[in-house]
């Protein structure tokens, strides 16, 4: 499609401009009057340049509108194809989701599918089967190890929420064994900040 669009009339425009310019004799600036004359000439040339540019803009606008119409002709079937392939992709995704559900049921995973399914599993290139089996194996392994960490049902609940033994243990410990305050904090029953304030106050009294 190279160079199918040609501009015509540009030569005429050029000639017209050249004709107008040929009548121009550039003024020599030597005094106030000639200075004013030169300024006037500059204004006339600005006007001429503006008119040419205005024509360019008009042409560009007209060209864009016409070319947009042509592109729209192509966009119509593109949109239609997108709709058709999109519908097919949706069907594939629905089918894939059914396959995922089936394998999930088969693997008998004791965690809701929504908690473990990754969005990318619905992408055509994703090896969801391996990933789902890996998740199932990890959960099975974790549940085998879990009783050796804690037999507290709350820990198990936390695991099912977080699906990682180490993270669940940290959270469980945080809840059940809050960090101990050191001796000074216990003695004064004050935080570091409060303790510092007391020290500063004592110092301000001139006491050691």
């Amino acid at each position: 499609m190279n160079e199918m669009i040609k501009l015509s009339g540009l030569d005429l425009l050029k000639k017209e401009v050249e004709t107008q310019l040929s009548d121009f004799k550039l003024i020599e600036v030597v005094d106030d009057d000639s200075y004013k004359g030169a300024k006037k000439q500059r204004a006339s040339l600005n006007k001429l340049s503006g008119e040419v540019d205005k024509e360019r803009k008009r042409l560009a606008k007209e060209l864009k509108a016409k070319v947009d119409d042509i592109i729209e002709l192509v966009n119509l079937p593109i949109g239609e194809l997108d709709l058709r392939t999109g519908a097919w992709e949706d069907e594939l995704k629905t089918q894939r989701q059914l396959d995922i559900n089936a394998l999930y049921e088969e693997l008998n995973i004791p965690v809701e599918l929504s908690k473990i399914q990754n969005d990318k599993w619905l992408n055509q290139t994703c090896d969801w089967e391996t990933e789902l089996k890996t998740v199932a194996e990890k959960i099975e392994r974790d549940l085998e190890i879990l009783p050796s960490i804690s037999d507290n049902p709350e820990f198990k609940e936390l695991y099912f929420e977080l699906l990682d033994l180490a993270v669940a243990k940290r959270e469980f410990d945080r809840k059940h064994n809050p960090p101990k305050r050191n001796e000074r904090e216990v003695f004064f029953n004050a935080t570091d900040e409060e303790y510092q304030l007391v020290l500063d106050y004592i110092k301000s009294l001139g006491l050691e």
Binding site: T130, E137, K138, R141, E144, I145, S148, I149, D164, L165, A166, V167, K169
Partner: protein, 189 residues
């Protein structure tokens, strides 16, 4: 006394062959990790990684090809960004049950860390978590030291970027389970 045979990649402790960390993981949880990868590609990737590891160890880019050099430069930049100060490289650690070679002990942002360098396209955090936890456990037992403050992966993918990724530590109970599982597999072979 631990001995390492580089050609057979075998660790021997007082005459007894110890399984490596990668052998244990490959026999238990990560059996199929590289099953679909072309062996030639695996070998190329290993060569690439070995070159980068070596450069990091000696802190010099001598002998690197162009891509390895680019990756090494990204590593240096990452070191600056996170104030990574290596303390030890390629150190063999072992227990009575297994052995391995950790990549790096380093001060990272002023805390004591254990780090592993990976040049893979994808990062397998689960594998790294086991790998680093096993190294850490062996290191702690061997030198009677406390846990590292943090475990990290220095991720240097070939194509772009460099990232410092914090890795979650496995619990001692998980490691015990893994070692027991490995023993069962070996006994049943």
């Amino acid at each position: 006394m631990i001995e390492f045979n580089e050609s057979t990649h075998t660790y021997t402790l007082n005459g007894k062959v110890l399984p490596s960390v990668s052998t244990i993981l490959g026999a238990t949880i990560f059996k199929d990790k590289y099953k679909d990868v072309d062996p030639y590609i695996l070998q190329r990737a290993a060569q690439f990684g070995t070159g980068v590891h070596k450069a990091i160890e000696i802190d010099d880019y001598f002998g690197l090809d162009d891509l390895q050099y680019t990756v090494f430069k990204r590593y240096k930049k990452l070191c600056k960004k996170h104030d990574i100060k290596p303390i030890a490289h390629e150190q063999i650690v072992y227990t009575q049950d297994y052995a391995g070679t950790l990549d790096m002990i380093a001060l990272i942002d002023n805390v004591n860390c254990l780090a592993d360098v990976k040049t893979t396209y994808n990062l397998d955090r689960e594998y790294l978590s086991w790998q680093l936890s096993l190294y850490e456990m062996a290191y702690m037992k061997l030198y009677n030291k406390p846990q590292f403050d943090k475990l990290y992966c220095i991720w240097l993918p070939r194509r772009k970027g460099a990232e410092l990724v914090e890795i979650e530590r496995k619990l001692p109970q998980e490691i015990d389970w893994l070692l027991k599982k490995y023993k069962e597999i070996i006994e049943n072979e």
